[in-house]
Symmetry: C2
Subunit: 208 residues, 2 copies
């Protein structure tokens, strides 16, 4: 399976951690693809016209994107613990937590783009800040339930969102005011799948 | 079920069309919520900290977002034709088309925000244009397969994305160069579920 990949994309990281949990991470032919919102990537767009990573292509040529679709597909390829609960409240709790983690990543990525503009919008930055803070408050409130529930795609998405806060928003520390979810995140970071997929900023050496 | 709702949100429209197809649209208590990226919505954020619509709350207080999670949940509540195929290639084709439609909407919404800025980035607008064009080319290539496959959440997402092009990007006509997907979209627009959920721009009368 071909995977358009980058070590600094949090949505790729989500897929790689999920694949490692499933024992499938060695099945990818990884193509280094730098997807920048400012610059459409011609080769990547042959597999995903949105020019975003992760994008996967099966051996028979079937395209597969975005990270949610790829992760759910991978979950059908193995016989171990599934990351997508089959049905019921467990499934929808996991999917809602995935949507929260993905939504935090979407807003943090836009925020990063905003602060790199020549004319950043202070109104937008205030909005990003408020929504990031509200999301952290929900995670802190749910931290016990998150820690107690079987490891799922929701955990991976939330863990990657918090990891991206550390990676790109170190000027906004979050642990002190959110001790419970910080304690859970420490257990997340200790998983072999997460340690094997650390975020790497190689932007000084690898351009598009 | 409570639904944070607006007649001009394409992702809300996706949920409303899906609910109509399932015979569930009368089950919502609709709360008019104007979610603007520039201004966090305090009441909405109690149910979705990301301050985005659609956001749903079950009668027992369980929150449910985003549109993908809501639609998949609704699909478990009825005994008719399911919009999420249960498994296999049919499921992943539907989910990938949903991701394409949702991804087009994400980029069109950002594009609209960009052009309303005091200093729009021409680089971003060129990028949005290229990715919109590539997405339309994929849809044109897949139009026969889309028309031939059982109606699914993928059809709804693609139909809503094309409808949003008509609603907010009338200055970029797309039908002439994409006749096959345009023909399919005409059949989509003729469905009772779609006609019952026309986009309405009430921004002159309803603010936040």
């Amino acid at each position: 399976m071909k995977l358009h990949w980058s070590p600094r994309s949090p949505f790729v990281r989500k897929v790689m951690i999920a694949a490692h949990e499933m024992g499938l991470d060695s099945r990818f032919d990884k193509i280094r693809s730098v997807a920048m919102s400012t610059q459409p990537h011609v080769e990547l767009m042959k597999d995903n016209p949105l020019s975003k990573i992760p994008a996967m292509v099966l051996d028979d040529g079937t395209p597969m994107f975005d990270s949610r679709v790829i992760c759910e597909y991978l979950d059908t390829l193995h016989g171990g613990h599934t990351l997508f609960p089959a049905s019921g409240p467990e499934r929808f709790t996991a999917l809602r937590r995935q949507a929260l983690g993905d939504g935090m990543l979407d807003l943090l990525i836009l925020w990063r783009g905003e602060r790199e503009r020549e004319h950043p919008s202070q109104v937008m930055i205030a909005s990003f800040t408020a929504r990031k803070d509200a999301s952290l408050a929900v995670l802190e409130r749910e931290a016990d339930a998150i820690a107690a529930s079987p490891f799922s795609i929701g955990h991976i998405a939330v863990g990657c969102a918090l990891g991206y806060l550390d990676f790109r928003f170190a000027m906004h520390p979050w642990r002190e005011d959110h001790p419970k979810i910080a304690a859970w995140h420490a257990t997340f970071n200790a998983r072999p799948s997460v340690k094997a997929n650390a975020v790497v900023d190689d932007s000084q050496t690898v351009k598009q």
